[in-house]
């Protein structure tokens, strides 16, 4: 080989090496590297949510010290990073997702593992889970994820605004019908026809249709998840009930007013700023990162969302949502992932993590930890609701995300554009019936 050819060969070799290096994964996650026993194993935990990344890292450092490994936490993780990571050659060892919606879709695609063996090997006590959040992860006999923390939604009301409107500040509405009346009394419209204060916005911040539909006695899937029931009467009634909060005051006026609402995590939040008298939100609002942080002097109450007047038995209805943990099927060291998952599910770790962030635990033993009581009586309302007989989980199927997206568009069209609920939901049922049957293998 002459010198010229040698130069070309070396240059090509360098280029190809650079290319391969840039395409290759990062540091191997597993411990089975050939680089000698001195190398500390690195486990990667990716978390889709995370208000306090440093605190989460500190929590996982404890596992690192315990197991003699290094745990790298990435939080919060952007949604669109998840799929490329799961399909790539070097996914994280444990993935914490902000909801269970996609666990079934990911399992169907072979991207996450079924966890029965992990549960067995890690001695994870399945009886310690509250039943409702666990159903998010169950598909027949399979367990596709494990719920870590859970969220509940309830009604918040501003006592000062109640008093100013001549309502008893200690008496929130007892029925959905009463809530409509209260909202009317609490809404102020100026001489120019513009809204100055609003009683209730049913979809404040995001949709709460799942809760309202449950209160009307149904859901958009049958309880066993085998039927699509998106045009059933409870769904139609729930959307029609929500619609009146827009049509009563003029949809454009309500939209214009709500467009001026401040950021969710800021003192300008419409509920904190006294622009909205009642709304639906989760337990974290009562914790140190939200109302006590942004508006400590706010005089408010929180209670379970009221049922319809003719169905008092539906009192304390809740719909569990929240974070779930999966093990990617491409994880390098499944044993290490399983051990880490088992540690995450231990009641003391669940209590520590969710107490700090004022979220609800999925472990019954963790819920007894005194730290939750220390979060105050308003947080306790949510802890008590966890044991409700009317506790449901958000039902998920392999087409949850696509259907939810279409459902949200339909809800938006009904609430914000005055569309007829029945007609639109019939159309949705027709559009998705076949896709749903295919997805659930019928």
């Amino acid at each position: 080989m002459n010198r010229y050819k040698l130069n070309i060969f070396i240059s090509l070799l360098v280029l190809v090496s650079l290319l391969l290096a840039s395409c290759g994964g990062g540091q191997p996650a597993g411990g089975d590297t050939d680089e000698g026993p001195a190398e500390t194993q690195v486990l990667r935990v990716w978390i889709q949510w995370g208000d306090n990344p440093q605190q989460i890292q500190a929590l996982f450092d404890k596992y690192g010290d315990l197991a003699g490994v290094k745990v790298e936490v990435t939080a919060p993780l952007e949604d669109d990073k998840v799929l490329p990571a799961l399909t790539g050659s070097d996914p994280p060892d444990v993935l914490v997702m902000s909801g269970g919606d996609l666990a079934k879709s990911y399992y169907k695609e072979g991207l996450v593992d079924e966890l029965s063996q992990v549960i067995k090997d890690g001695n994870i006590d399945m009886d310690d889970f509250f039943p409702a959040p666990l159903t998010m992860c169950q598909q027949d006999d399979l367990i596709l994820c494990l719920p870590w923390g859970t969220d509940l939604y309830a009604l918040f009301w501003n006592k000062d605004l109640f008093e100013a409107a001549g309502l008893d500040p200690e008496k929130p509405p007892a029925t959905m019908e009463e809530l409509v009346e209260y909202a009317d009394k609490l809404t102020k419209v100026g001489a120019d026809g513009k809204i100055e204060q609003i009683g209730f916005v049913p979809d404040q911040a995001w949709s709460h249709a799942d809760l309202y539909v449950r209160l009307f006695g149904g859901f958009w899937y049958s309880d066993d998840g085998t039927q699509l029931t998106v045009n059933s009467q409870p769904v139609v009634d729930a959307l029609a009930w929500q619609q009146q909060f827009y049509t009563n005051y003029g949809t454009d006026e309500v939209l214009a007013f709500s467009s001026g609402f401040g950021e969710y995590m800021s003192p300008d939040h419409p509920f904190y700023a006294g622009k909205m008298a009642m709304y639906v939100d989760g337990e974290w609002q009562t914790g140190p990162n939200f109302i006590p942080n942004f508006k400590p002097e706010l005089n408010y109450g929180v209670t379970a969302f009221p049922p319809p007047a003719d169905h008092p038995e539906r009192a304390s209805t809740i719909v569990n949502q929240g974070t779930v943990v999966v093990i990617p099927s491409g994880a390098r060291d499944k044993v290490a992932s399983a051990k880490l998952l088992a540690w995450m599910m231990s009641p003391e770790i669940v209590a520590e993590e969710f107490c700090f962030n004022a979220n609800l635990p999925t472990s019954k033993k963790a819920a007894e930890d005194p730290c939750f009581e220390a979060l105050g009586p308003k947080f306790q309302v949510f802890v008590d609701l966890m044991a409700s007989e009317n506790a449901f989980a958000i039902l998920t199927t392999p087409i949850s995300l696509e259907l939810n997206d279409a459902f949200l568009t339909a809800e938006e069209e009904i609430l914000h554009a005055g569309a007829d609920p029945k007609m639109l939901l019939d159309q949705l049922q027709a559009d998705y019936e076949v896709k749903f049957k295919e997805a659930v293998g019928q």
Partner: protein
């Protein structure tokens, strides 16, 4: 038969034999091109070929592809969201691109005038185009906020009840068009440089012959800058067919297409199908349809432009 028998196969003419030096130069050139060639093969040609194959299948990342033939393409035509996203995109192509070209040209004409402080005006017009897309979009979300936005307040002072902009499906796209026009500094600069290349001798000759400003503009300036108009038109059309970032920011990532799918553009729906609904095969079919639509539009524009474009020399 006679025709057949008269046919004779001919080998293509042989390449002239290269000298040792030419071969050396060729190899050296190839070596310098290698980074691009490897990049092109790995990051352009391979993904294109893969997406073409995926478009005829159901893609599973960890299982073999399921061959479905033309099913993905057939499904597109019965998918309401596909048509809605195509309509939204065509709206932008048909309205935003010509409007942006017209206003850019007018701005460039003004910035070409010899007035005091012209360089400052040029900087002012160009500045928005260097604002990052996400930052610019968030800024306009606030400017067009129906309750506290500057624009509706301004309209209110004039006695006009401003629309709900990004909360109203009828006004969301016009809001995005305004955002696009605000950031058209790049197009203005390209026009400006081409206006400065219009031969002054032609303009002076026309002026001496008594041509008015409008006649000089119509008969000299516009034809002379027509190749630039064609360039801006084609790049504008291609960019608009791929419109994504601004719509993604308006949708906040979680509510893509809001309000009421009025900002669900083709690329947004493609992204949603691939990365949120895990329908990679379907999204690949969408990508190939988009490729063909853009190709046809570009060829059509080239064909039509032959009559309206003047290339000096």
């Amino acid at each position: 038969m006679e025709v057949m028998s008269s046919f004779k196969f001919r080998w293509p003419p042989r390449m002239p034999k290269w000298s040792r030096r030419e071969r050396h130069n060729f190899r050296t050139g190839l070596l310098f091109l290698m980074p691009w060639i490897i990049g092109f093969l790995a990051f352009t040609l391979y993904p294109m070929a893969a997406s073409f194959i995926y478009s005829f299948s159901i893609y599973h990342s960890r299982r073999p592809l399921e061959w479905v033939g033309l099913e993905n393409y057939a499904s597109l035509f019965s998918d309401k969201l596909f048509w809605q996203s195509l309509n939204n995109t065509l709206y932008m192509v048909a309205i935003a691109v010509p409007l942006s070209l017209l206003l850019s040209f007018i701005c460039a004409l003004l910035l070409n005038l010899k007035v005091r402080g012209q360089s400052i005006y040029r900087v002012i017009y160009f500045l928005p185009s260097i604002v990052p897309t996400v930052a610019g979009t968030i800024l306009w979300l606030w400017l067009l906020n129906p309750q506290v936005g500057l624009i509706n307040n301004l309209l209110g002072n004039l006695g006009i009840d401003g629309p709900n902009w990004f909360k109203d499906p009828d006004w969301a796209k016009p809001g995005l068009i305004m955002l696009g026009i605000w950031g058209m500094g790049g197009t203005i600069m390209i026009y400006l440089s081409s206006l400065q290349d219009v031969p002054t001798s032609l303009l002076e000759a026309a002026e001496l012959d008594g041509a008015s400003w409008l006649q000089r503009l119509w008969h000299i300036t516009i034809p002379m800058v027509s190749p630039i108009t064609l360039f801006n038109l084609i790049t504008g059309v291609i960019a608009m067919f791929q419109y994504f970032a601004q719509a993604y920011v308006v949708g906040g990532g979680d509510n893509l297409g809001q309000p009421l799918n009025s900002t669900l553009f083709y690329s947004v729906y493609l992204y949603q199908s691939a990365f949120l609904f895990l329908k990679m095969g379907y999204a690949s079919a969408m990508a190939w349809v988009l490729f063909i639509v853009i190709l046809v539009c570009t060829l059509l524009l080239f064909k039509i432009s032959e009559r309206f474009t003047y290339y000096a020399g």
